[in-house]
Amino acid sequence: MNDMRLLERDVDTNDIKIAARDVQVYYGDTHAIKDVNVDIADNTVTAFIGPSGCGKTTFLRCMNRMNDTIDIARVEGVIKIDDEDIYDKNVDPVQLRAKVGMVFQKPNPFPKSIYDNVAYGPKIHGLAKNKAELDDIVENALRRGAIWDEVKDRLQEPGTGLSGGQQQRLCIARAVATEPEVLLMDEPCSALDPIATAQIEELIDELRQNYSVVIVTHSMQQAARVSQKTAFFHLGNLVEYGSTGDIFTNPQDPRTESYITGRIG
């Protein structure tokens, strides 16, 4: 059949940003991720979908070594970003996380001013030589977070005083301020209303120009709307991975079909 997808839905690149090979994750005795192999493309939004407890968030957290912070978690296999093994002992997890930004389910601004929320990362990573440069970085990040116009006159007010949707966009601005190459989003819209969700989704599409975005979402509509590639996880296995259009209209695996049509949960 001819590919009828809109042109803008096309994946512009075949460059692989993240390559995972035979990844296993254990929490104590629980085998949470089983033999996951996946290539995540650059300048692409990749959605991870699957029922609760299927391992999608666990796998997402492997990509910036967030699981290192959990004592009983053990990660096996190879995850390479730009051909570099991120679990190599020479890799500093703090530097890695500057390169692989993350946005969480609940907006979690620091209890600081809006300005400092965004300036914090660039400061500790020494990305600005002086105040003027830092101001530029903050403005730029807030603009990319699509929140500049709303906060430009109140940069010194606390970030926690913003609305939920604004806080989440502030967190995205904070995540992009350190110039990451990959942006991981763990259900970034689950606490937001439809308008704020639409703003974030628009933002994700714009971020795709510069980053590889991986988003975990429980909303299949959202996965369908924002992503070019979709991966379906079930019971720790990566069941199916393909173009979003194919996954949602004609999935090949019966488990994917059952899940997206609302037959298993």
Partner: protein
Amino acid sequence: MNERHIVSSFDRDLEAVQALIVKMGGLVEQAIIDAAKSLELRDEELAEQVRRNDARIDALEEQANEEVARVIALRAPMGTDLRVVLSVMKISANLERIGDYAKNIAKRTSVLVQLQQIEGTSAALRRMAKEVETMLKDALDAYIHSDAELAQDIRMRDHDVDQMYNALFREFLTFMMEDPRNITACMHLHFIAKNIERMGDHVTSICEQVIYYVTGEAPEDARPKGDKTAYDLTGA
């Protein structure tokens, strides 16, 4: 897919839209049979009934469109479910068109009863209509049982209908050349034959929808096209 949805009202919605197709299909089958019968028996009353009943088919198509729009808006169907509602929309349009052709046959029948009967042709037309009606019945069976193989078989049978049309086309030409007084009747009969041939095309399209919704892919091979009259030279 025999598994039920977690939300059982979703199953009921899907069953409801599919039931509309079955209902429409029954009415359309009857319309084909009655139209052919009214032609053969020169039964004006039956022809009039076919024309009246077409309104019910049209109303069902409208209902199907509304239900499909509702399911898409409220349920956001995906995978097989999406393909089911899309196929319902297209199949109902095909059925509605077949109904229109039956109605047109009935209209022409009302004219033909006032003209000199052309020997042998109405029986041939009835056979052709019977063949299309059987194809439609089988196509609806394939739809109900999600049987893509059966749908593929029926699709190939449309070739026979095209052959019958070709034969009739030549027959009508001969009649008209023999005696110009036959022209009016033969023109109407020819349109009737063409209507039945077009019905076959719509049944084929229904089969393609069945294949799409079962397999997720539209059939790739080109359907055999049997109507060659477009290239015929009169009197050749």
